[in-house]
């Protein structure tokens, strides 16, 4: 016994360390870890709780009936309001407080051409124009209404 006393002491230190580790682990380990899978189940709630910035097409109709109806019958029917007007969840929550950003008048031509500029890379069926040749000095809106662009 006396011959292995030192080894026994080492063993005690090892076991004590492991015990300390297990105790600390039990205290520190997040409670929801492993409830569903090998992750913190609460992380799901964190992800779900993130704020929404884009309200979605459904939200626009109740207030902006005319515009939504006009758009619905046009070639822009598939383009959601927020595609051009930006994220509007804040506007839906407080219609007076947060006004939607319209594409600025001066920027309009560039804005339209962002989709409609002719390019070899675009699908053949998509309506495009060569911005340098198609009435280069005029604003698009002079002929095409954004909500119903076909003349």
């Amino acid at each position: 016994m006396k011959d292995i006393e030192h080894l026994l002491r080492v063993a005690v230190i090892f076991l004590a360390s492991i015990t300390v580790f297990l105790v600390v682990r039990a205290v520190v380990k997040p409670e929801s870890y492993g409830k569903i899978g090998r992750y913190r189940a609460e992380a799901l709630d964190d992800s779900k709780a993130l704020p929404v910035r884009y309200a979605g097409q459904k939200e626009c109709g109740p207030c902006h009936k005319a515009q939504v109806k006009e758009k619905a019958g046009s070639s822009h029917s598939g383009v959601s309001c927020e595609s051009c007007h930006g994220a509007l969840a804040a506007h839906v929550a407080a219609p007076k407080g947060a006004k939607p950003a319209k594409p600025a008048e001066a920027e309009m031509r560039r804005f339209c051409l962002r989709c409609h500029e002719a390019s070899v890379s675009k699908p053949a069926k998509f309506p495009v124009q060569d911005g340098t040749k198609h009435n280069p000095d005029m604003a698009c809106g002079m002929c095409h209404k954004p909500h119903a662009p076909k003349i």
């Binding site: 006393e5 360390s17 580790f21 600390v24 492993g34 090998r38």
Partner: protein
């Protein structure tokens, strides 16, 4: 802190060649992650050298046995530091021990590391030194050291002679466990890279073995140089049979490591898969200096040549010492370059295989050259402390 990163990344924007996925501009694993396999490699190599003496009873290696163990310990203590410094959230690092993901190679790090540090290295060193420690606890002139030694005896001040015999047997058993542990430690580091299928420069089953043998080369070279330096510093004669044997093992490790690396390269070139073009461009371009010149020519071929000469011809001691010192240093540099080429080189090219990003090594900052240099030198300081506390050579009374 992050502003500096963003500014630096903006500067690299126009240095991209070809096409990369936009998120790939930032090179995720910096020089610190180069350092990590380098340091663990030195640990594994030094330990394997020690084990050769113990397990295979190579008596001639006695003078380097304890030095190898202490070197391994010094580097092992520092090895996780670069990882820790590199983390985005260092304060959460213990998550890796508390909730390890069993499918993650990295998650096993904590356990492999602790096993190796606690169960193998510390215990083996302690058993080996116990007889001296008990003596020093009484006789050392410094009260501080006496106190430390007393603690290290774990309160067993008057051990029986039989207990030392038991220590010897337990120590040997430990080394036999330790050898595969050292192999595991570093083979596992190679697996961290080798298992990433998304990266064709990393993804090869040879990676753990290549890492292992280059680790042996670097660790043996490191101990060899340290032994030569310490003999010079202490003004004692180098025991040439020991040094020659160490050098022989060193040569073997370099040859095996180099052959494996070349085997891997030949395989890649011959199979010439989808990613071969970009890898060829990588080797000829961004890695030319660090791979072709430093890793292969200076770090592998030249040491093989020099050490080969010492095997073929009977050179005088003085010449051999110079050859050993030069090839050891070259190999240490070359293996650092190898780690760089794997870690950083593997991130230069895009996973789209269509272009390259760049990496600018900053001087200051958490991941700069300065902090990397500190982390590189730190193990030597730790080793200094260990040598002061546990001198591996016979300490003559009255002489420090």
């Amino acid at each position: 802190m992050h502003d500096a990163v963003v500014v630096a990344l903006r500067e690299t924007l126009d240095k991209v060649t070809g096409f990369i996925y936009p998120n790939e501009l930032e090179l995720q694993w910096s020089i610190l992650i180069v350092l990590y396999p380098y340091l663990t490699g030195l640990v594994a190599g030094a330990f394997i050298l020690a084990s050769l003496e113990r397990v295979f009873n190579v008596k001639v290696l006695k003078p380097t046995y304890r030095l190898s163990l202490l070197t391994a310990l010094a580097f092992l203590i520092i090895a996780p530091l670069p990882l820790q410094v590199h983390l985005g959230h260092p304060e959460r690092s213990l998550n890796i021990l508390f909730t390890p993901n069993p499918t993650s190679a990295m998650a096993m790090f904590g356990f492999v590391y602790l096993w190796y540090l606690m169960a193998v290295l510390l215990l083996e060193i302690w058993l080996d030194y116990r007889k001296e420690i008990v003596g020093w606890a009484d006789t050392d002139p410094s009260w501080l050291k006496r106190l430390i030694y007393k603690v290290m005896t774990l309160g067993v001040f008057k051990p029986t002679e039989k207990s030392y015999e038991i220590d010897d047997r337990v120590g040997r058993a430990l080394t036999i466990i330790g050898l595969p542990s050292a192999v595991l430690l570093h083979g596992y580091v190679g697996f961290i890279f080798g298992s990433i299928k998304a990266n064709p420069w990393w993804s090869t089953p040879l990676m753990p073995i290549i890492f292992l043998f280059s680790a042996m080369a670097s660790g043996i070279a490191g101990v060899m140089l340290l032994y030569m330096f310490l003999c010079w510093a202490r003004d004692v004669e180098i025991e040439m049979p020991c040094l020659d044997t160490v050098a022989k093992y060193f040569l073997t490790a370099v040859i095996v490591a180099f052959s494996l690396e070349m085997l891997e390269s030949i395989q890649t070139a011959y199979e010439a898969e989808e990613h071969f073009d970009i890898i060829q461009l990588l080797i000829e371009g961004k890695l030319y200096l660090s791979l072709i010149v430093i890793q292969i020519c200076l770090g592998s071929l030249l040491p093989i040549l020099l050490l080969g000469l010492t095997q073929l011809f009977e050179l005088p001691d003085k010449v051999r010492k110079v050859f050993y010192a030069v090839s050891g240093s070259l190999s240490l540099i070359g293996i650092f370059a190898m780690r760089w080429n794997v870690v950083v080189g593997g991130q230069f090219f895009s996973k789209s295989l269509m272009g390259f990003t760049t990496y600018k090594l900053e001087l200051a900052g958490r991941e700069g050259l300065f902090s990397a240099s500190v982390l590189c030198v730190l193990p030597l300081f730790v080793l200094g402390v260990l040598l002061w506390l546990l001198p591996p050579w016979d300490r003559k009374p009255g002489k420090a």
